[in-house]
Structure formats: C-alpha cells, structure tokens
C-alpha cells in the first residue's frame, strides 16, 4: 500500500514540470473539444476558425506587450490608449494623403514613442509603481487621440494599409476552395510570437527581463542596467500596441474614438490566464498565446450558442479567478517557502 502511494507521489513529481509548462494548453484543448461537441457543424469550420484568429489578432499583440511588462513585475494599463492614439495618428496621416508606406509605419513609431514615454516616466520620474505612470498615460494618450481627430471617426484606408488586418492569403493552389483562405493577421501573429519567444528565451536581454522580475536587486548586483531594460520593455510593449493599431485599422477600415477601450484589461486577463505571475519572473510566450486563445474561443463559442454577452463577462471573470487558484495550488506543491 505504501509503495503504491510512493509511486503515485513520484509520478506526480515527474508530471509536475510538464503540467507547469503545458497545463494551460491542456485546458485550451479541452475547451476546443467541448466547443466542438456543442457546435459540431460550425465551431471547427474553416470560416469560424479563421474568424477566431481574426478576432484575437490585435488583442494578441497587446497581450504579448503587457506580458513582457508583467514579467518585470510591472503593469501597463495604457496599451489600449496607445493603440487608439496610434490608430488615430494613422488615420490622420492617411487622410492627409501620405503614401501607404508612410501610413503603415506611423502607428509603429507612435506606439514605440508612447511606450518610451511610459518607460522614461517610470524610471526617470521614479514613479513608486508602473501602475501610476500608465494609469496617467491611459488618460493622456486617449485624450491626445481625441484631440488630434476631433473625437470623430476617420474612415477609409487604402488596401496596402489594410493588408495586415484584412489581407487574405489565397490557398487555391493547394486545391482548397476560395473561401478557405489564410488571414494575413494569423501569419503575423505566428511571426511576432515566434520572434518574441526567441527574444525572451534565447537573448541576454530576454533573460535579464526574467531576472529583473525574479529579483531586481540580483539583477542590479549582477551589473545589469535595470532601468535601461525597463525602458526597452515598455517601449516594445508600446511598439506591439502600434502593431495592434495597424491590424485594427485593417479590420475596421476606420479610426474611431472607442478603439481599444478596456482592452488593457483583456490583455492583462489573457496573461494571467496564461500563467504569468503578477509578482514577476514567471510565465511563457506560449502561455500568453493560450490565454489569448482561451478568451477568444470562449467569446466566439458563447456567441455561436447565442449566450448573452453579460454571461460572457461572468465566465471570463470566473476563469481568471480559477486559473490563478490552480496556479496557487500548483506553486504550493512545487516551491520551498
């Protein structure tokens, strides 16, 4: 009897690292299976799957940016506003008749500069917590966006500008039908996530981002310029929000004042569901992707089943609490206190 217990315990110990790494993917697979059983004809159809990816395309950029910030034990509340401001700048520049390659690059630069502003504010002004700086810029950036656009939507972009958010990669050469295309935004998500996965896990700067989240004093004592790394992280977060703006411009063909409203909370939620720790130093790019997917599939699935959006809010909130509670249990088993 005792031997059997021991075996079970050692099996647990062997499984733990895998569960810690891939547990969230398991949850994602279960969700996909459940949705497939509930909606066998629609859910896994080409049309619906590409729809899900199109819907999560810009959120996935914000979530990835916020994730990097959370790894440093920080927070960025301004990503939704950065995206809106970048989108508005794009719209204004497009309306002014600038060539498409200028229009495409403006939101990226604008987003980067907004993030740089956050990073410099947090480090140079020695804000007690990034929450405060980015709460301030949440208002500042959205206000600025409305100032430059006059608070009204600006619509109508050229096809080149809309390519990332709206473009289709034809797969008819593979013998598929015309409706079975690949959205460009899906390819973009894959490319951006792979680049950032390599950056965070295989570069010095990426390792230092994790080290700062684990113990900023250790990072400082190791000669790492913590403030410089933080400025880089917030700038990249802004840059990713700028990519989000470019995708959104393509999807909606319009710059509008409510763009990205409360999307910072969705981004944070995706990171938390994906296993990132608010205390910093923990979480994976794959986890964030799973977090974004879980939120996207939940919304999509519930829409397919005609569940009211109020229930969606209740469910997403519950999943956040549940995901973190599972994380707490897992950590209790794995770490010395």
């Amino acid at each position: 009897m005792e031997d059997k217990d021991k075996k079970i315990v050692s099996l647990h110990l062997k499984l733990m690292p895998y569960l810690e790494k891939y547990g969230i993917l398991l949850l994602l697979v279960i969700m996909i299976l459940v949705m497939h059983i509930l909606q066998p004809d629609v859910f896994l159809s080409w049309r619906n799957v590409t729809n899900v990816f199109k819907q999560i395309s810009w959120q996935s950029m914000l979530a990835l940016g916020v994730f990097m910030v959370i790894v440093t034990a920080g927070i960025d509340l301004s990503v939704g506003s950065i995206m809106m401001l970048s989108l508005m700048i794009l719209a204004v520049v497009a309306k002014a008749g600038a060539p498409w390659y200028i229009v495409v690059i403006t939101p990226l630069i604008a987003g980067f500069l907004c993030g740089l502003f956050n990073g410099l504010g947090i480090t140079l002004l020695r804000m007690p917590h990034p929450f405060i700086m980015t709460l301030g810029t949440l208002y500042i950036f959205r206000g600025t966006g409305n100032l430059i656009s006059g608070g009204t939507p600006i619509s109508g972009f050229t096809d080149e500008v809309r390519y990332l958010g709206h473009g289709r990669i034809d797969l008819q050469w593979l013998g598929l039908e015309k409706s079975q295309y690949l959205p460009v935004s899906l390819v973009l998500i894959a490319i951006v996530y792979i680049i950032f996965w390599i950056f965070l896990n295989h570069s010095k700067t990426g390792k230092w981002i994790y080290a700062i989240g684990g113990n900023p004093n250790a990072a400082r004592a190791s000669g790492i310029n913590v403030n410089k790394i933080l400025v880089i992280v917030y700038s990249l977060c802004g840059f990713l929000s700028g990519i989000g703006a470019l995708i959104l411009a393509g999807r909606t063909d319009s710059g509008y004042p409510n763009a990205g409203l409360q999307s910072e909370l969705d981004a944070i939620a995706a990171c938390i569901i994906g296993g990132a720790s608010f205390f910093g130093g923990r979480g994976t790019v794959l986890g964030v992707f799973a977090g974004v997917m879980i939120m996207g599939i939940l919304r999509n699935g519930l829409n397919l089943m005609d569940v009211s959006s109020f229930w969606q809010q209740v469910l997403i909130g519950s999943i956040i609490v549940l995901a973190v509670y599972i994380d707490v249990l897992r950590r209790d088993l794995g770490t010395r206190k």
């Binding site: 230092w208 080290a211 113990n215 004093n217 400082r220």
Partner: protein, 249 residues
C-alpha cells in the same frame, strides 16, 4: 600570487554621507591575496555601507580605492566585477525563478552567434556551471534546478559559486552564514577556506565569532562609521573582539 607585502585591495579614507547622515568616516581597509579579513561591528556601524562602496554599488563621498596598487574609481558593480572584485550579498542577490547556471552567469552569459544575432549558449552555461560546482565541491541535483527550490545553504553556495566563476581576486561576503542551519554553516566555512587556498582575498562581515575565528586571519572592528580596532587573529580573543563591537577597548 602577488607578494604578501602589497595588499590586493586597499581602501583609504573612505567617507560616505547619506544626506546629513555620516555612514562612514575616514575608514581604511586592506586585504592581501590568500588572506581572510573579518569585519565586525554592531548594527549600523557601517559594515554593509563599506562593502557596498567596495563593490561599486555606492560611490564614496570621499576617499580612494586601490586595487593591486592602482587607484580605481568604481562607477557600477560591473566595474568592480571587471577588476575581479566580487560581492556575495546578505540577501544573496539570486533570482529564484532562474536555474542555478543562469544565476551564476547572470549579466555575463556566454553567447553563440547565429548569423548576426547573438543567442544564449545554454549548453556552455551548463557545462561551465557543472565544472565550476565540481571544483568547489558543491553538490546540487542539477545545474538546471531553480534556485527557489534550494535550501538556504545551497543558495549560499550558489551565491559563492557565482562570485568566483570569473577569476575573482577578492570576494566580499556579507553575513555568509546568517541565514543557515547549523550543519550548513560548516560547509560554507570550508568553502571560504578553500577559496583562500586558491589565492583569493576574502573579506567576511559577520556577527558570529565562530565564523571569524574559524576562517579569518585578521579582524577589524567598525564603530559608528569609523575604524575602531584591528588585530591579527593570533593576537586577540573572542572577548576582546566582542568588546570592540560594543565600543570598548
């Protein structure tokens, strides 16, 4: 090994103000190769401040540092590390979320080139870590183990391993045994003794007379931010050193 006459590291007239508070006033310190200097003093005597000046974390308000006879100005911990001056902090300064190997090489990771991008060389980190831990006879399950999974003594050993991974000439340890279980203290003290044998100068800050009298060759006491007393271990006694800590000669 350099001659025993010239100190490896010498601090002259170190003074440090924090606003209106004088943390250190005209403090002198020296350590030779292969020697262990014990620094004692009551809380607030300025021991930790002095160590942070030596490691480049604080800039002294006045005074100068000489390393191997040459004056050096330390702008950051990186400068002191480049000289071969390493610090083991009381709070260990390890990132618990990272594995042992990545902690040892934190900030100085070996990389390999993939085209024009530099990527971390995880195999090399592991290889160097295992070799280094073997050299110091530190036993851990694997270099991939996260530091937060280790015991206090193992963490201290990792911190010491980190300080000596890059040809350190002087290692400064702030309360190296303070957080350890009794059976782990001996291991850490053994480690300090083996460091001395390799010609490293060691500075140990400690409250524990046992530590000082086991590994040190010389002991100096700070009192209210100034040099108070100094003697080689053979010319003093526990009671006398305890008296110095309390400001009695």
């Amino acid at each position: 090994m350099s001659s025993t006459k010239n100190p490896l590291l010498e601090a002259k007239g170190i003074t440090k103000y924090f606003g209106t508070i004088t943390a250190l006033e005209n403090v002198n310190l020296k350590v030779h190769a292969g020697e262990c200097l014990g620094v004692v003093g009551d809380n607030g005597a300025g021991k930790s401040t002095l160590m942070k000046v030596l490691s480049g974390l604080y800039k002294p308000s006045a005074g100068s540092l000489f390393f191997q006879g040459k004056e050096e100005i330390l702008e950051s911990p990186r400068d002191s590390q480049n000289l071969g001056l390493e610090m083991v902090y009381q709070d260990l300064a390890l990132a618990g979320n990272l594995p042992i190997g990545e902690n040892i090489f934190l900030g100085r990771e070996p990389t390999k080139n993939l085209g024009f991008i530099k990527l971390l060389d995880f195999n090399k980190i592991k290889e160097l870590t295992n070799a280094h831990l073997d050299k110091l006879k530190i036993n851990v399950k694997s270099a991939d183990q996260k530091v937060e999974e280790l015991s206090g003594g193992q963490r201290q050993a990792v911190a010491i391993a980190r300080s000596t991974a890059f040809n350190a000439k002087v290692v400064i340890m702030d309360e190296p045994t303070a957080a350890l279980a009794i059976k782990e203290v001996g291991k850490v003290l053994d480690l300090i003794n083996s460091l001395k044998k390799t010609g490293v100068g060691v500075i140990v800050i400690s409250h524990r007379m046992d530590d000082i009298f086991t590994v040190c060759d010389r002991v100096m006491a700070l009192f209210q931010g100034t040099n108070f007393a100094e003697a080689s271990l053979s010319n003093t006694s526990r009671d006398e050193v305890i008296g110095w800590i309390m400001g009695k000669k």
